[in-house]
Symmetry: C2
Subunit: 349 residues, 2 copies
């Protein structure tokens, strides 16, 4: 049997895991998936299981996995880590290999940062979109686009920061934000600016955990203390979330801007811009038609349809039917422009 | 001090929570937020804390909250539940109230179903979109649209099912799927059909937990055992996820269809349909123009633009620039239709 045991974010064994671990001949502890906050974390093992030795192992050891798997065939073995053991893909792959080799596996879950951070910040878990990770690599476009995508739906984004145990490297929140600002400069979806409000949860699960909320401007000079940090870029805050943040952050939250206020879908910007231009061009086309000699042609019908479809596009936009909105404004423009292309009328666009 | 303590999905106290709970004069246990799997869950309290009585409380008691808050002002008090204590919004609101009344609060997190289910199923947590809950109410459009939204991005969806402790009511997975099928009938985004592949995790955290993967057709006659169940509608499976499911589900996964294969954005369906119609109408318009007496008018220019913009729309679609694709096809249609509206040409659309 191979156990995958998570100690949760506070790195504490559960009574159930103590019972199961007592049946193990070998316990491996890895700390490459979550920073170890507490040097005493290993002593809880020796306190409780005198017969079992805990061996600290590296990422390579787990990725190689052969010793762990071979051991599991002969006797109960456990791989223990902080948080939840199945968030790390290396553990998932090890489990798949174990099952393929006929080894029984059991997971003892622990609280994960992914689920804990929402509750710590008073935010509702069902208001979160896809999680992102930011690394020190340049061009963090995927993270930026996912945040954009989440914000368009008013959803919050949990942002994990790269942590490399081997080099004791934690990506600083400011470096992560700088990457996002570079992506903003390149992609320009108006996801963030200096007034964007960011939540930072530091050292969760430890005695000196800290929650703060800062604008990106304030972040530049803030003292966040030691890592690890996890960020949340909030979307549309429900009033209960707003209230929770107000008491948790110890700051005036009333003046904090809504991160979704600027962001708009390309479709909305498109329709608003072209609807305005189309109606202006229509006015000029009508003047031109009044002076036209082509009196047997039915300009009025065309003009009426241009106006109707332009109004329709704005209405569809308000109803959230973006595709129909864009189709309608494109159609309206085409109806009008055709009169110029065919040489029937001359007017400015 | 008011503690919010989660027992995790296996309903086990952690060593840390034992230490903290021993300092409490009062412990309240609520079971309305997660089904109690194990009748012995309360005995772990009495085993460990002879001096403290555990009182079972109802949702109303927690929502009212006054006794809990008053007690916390005088002595350490704990509210304990399964899973993670901050997933439930009633707990978040109680915590906000506590802090406002000057009561210190501390959360001892537990593993939540939201984070555990991905790992249990061998799926990557970063491949999940927004979570949904399905209730017994008719017209579960929000859940349906969120699943659609997630699937368009290739993301998996965790589907929580309504659970009402007061009436011992668990929404059956089949009833939940029926609601989604009704939404499919009304909204027709091609999210699901009888071959859609669904993952079901039952009684997670208990000794008789079970994982299965079924098509919606197979679900109709499957024996899932007792609740609670949580569903995952998978999106695009990474090959490692595919492999994990293969060993975990004990079924031939090769033949399982990809849930994202049919789904397409409205924009894609729209452009493909109208591009085809526009080119067909263009051919007829050209024939009509060849017979027209309005020889001084520049039909050729219009026709050329209709064709160009139609081709552009298809190209934009391939480039993932959906808004431009729709705008272009709308424009092309308008250019062509204008010739009919103005009475210049007659042709079928």
């Amino acid at each position: 049997m191979l156990y995958f045991v998570g100690l949760g974010i506070d790195q504490s064994l559960s009574l159930k895991s103590v019972r199961e671990l007592r049946t193990c001949e070998k316990i491996y502890f890895e700390s490459y998936t979550s920073p170890r906050l507490n040097n005493d974390v290993l002593t809880q093992f020796s306190d409780l299981t005198e017969s079992v030795k805990v061996e600290l192992v590296s990422r390579d050891f787990v990725e190689d996995g052969r010793k762990i798997l071979e051991g599991s065939k002969k006797a109960n073995t456990a791989l223990v880590c902080s948080g939840d053991p199945m968030v790390a893909t290396t553990h998932q792959e090890l489990r798949t290999r174990a099952i393929k080799e006929g080894i029984k596996t059991r997971i003892i879950h622990g609280s994960s940062i992914l689920c804990s951070v929402s509750g710590e910040l008073g935010l509702h878990s069902y208001n979160f979109g896809r999680v992102v990770t930011i690394t020190r690599e340049p061009m963090q476009y995927t993270a930026y686009n996912t945040i954009y995508d989440n914000l368009l739906r008013g959803l919050h984004t949990t942002i994990l920061l790269e942590w490399d145990e081997l080099h004791n490297f934690f990506l600083d929140p400011r470096a992560a934000i700088k990457s996002l600002e570079e992506a903003e400069r390149d992609l320009r979806h108006e996801v963030l600016d200096s007034s964007t409000f960011l939540l930072i949860a530091s050292r969760l699960g430890s005695e000196d955990a800290l929650l703060c909320g800062l604008t990106l401007e304030e972040l530049k000079t803030a003292d966040l203390g030691d890592p690890p940090h996890v960020l949340v870029l909030p979307g549309k805050l429900h009033y209960t979330e707003f209230e929770a943040l107000g008491v948790l952050l110890g700051r005036n939250i009333e003046s904090v801007p809504d991160n979704t206020r600027v962001i708009s879908k390309l479709s909305k910007r498109m329709v608003q811009k072209y609807a305005k231009k189309t109606l202006e061009a229509l006015a000029r086309a009508k003047k031109s038609a009044a002076q036209s000699v082509e009196s047997n042609l039915n300009f009025a019908d065309v003009f009426e349809n241009v106006e109707c479809y332009t109004r329709d596009s704005e209405r569809f936009l308000n109803e959230g039917r973006d595709e129909l909105a864009i189709l309608s404004i494109g159609y309206a423009e085409g109806l009008l422009d055709s009169l110029r292309f065919s040489g029937l009328l001359e007017f400015e666009w």
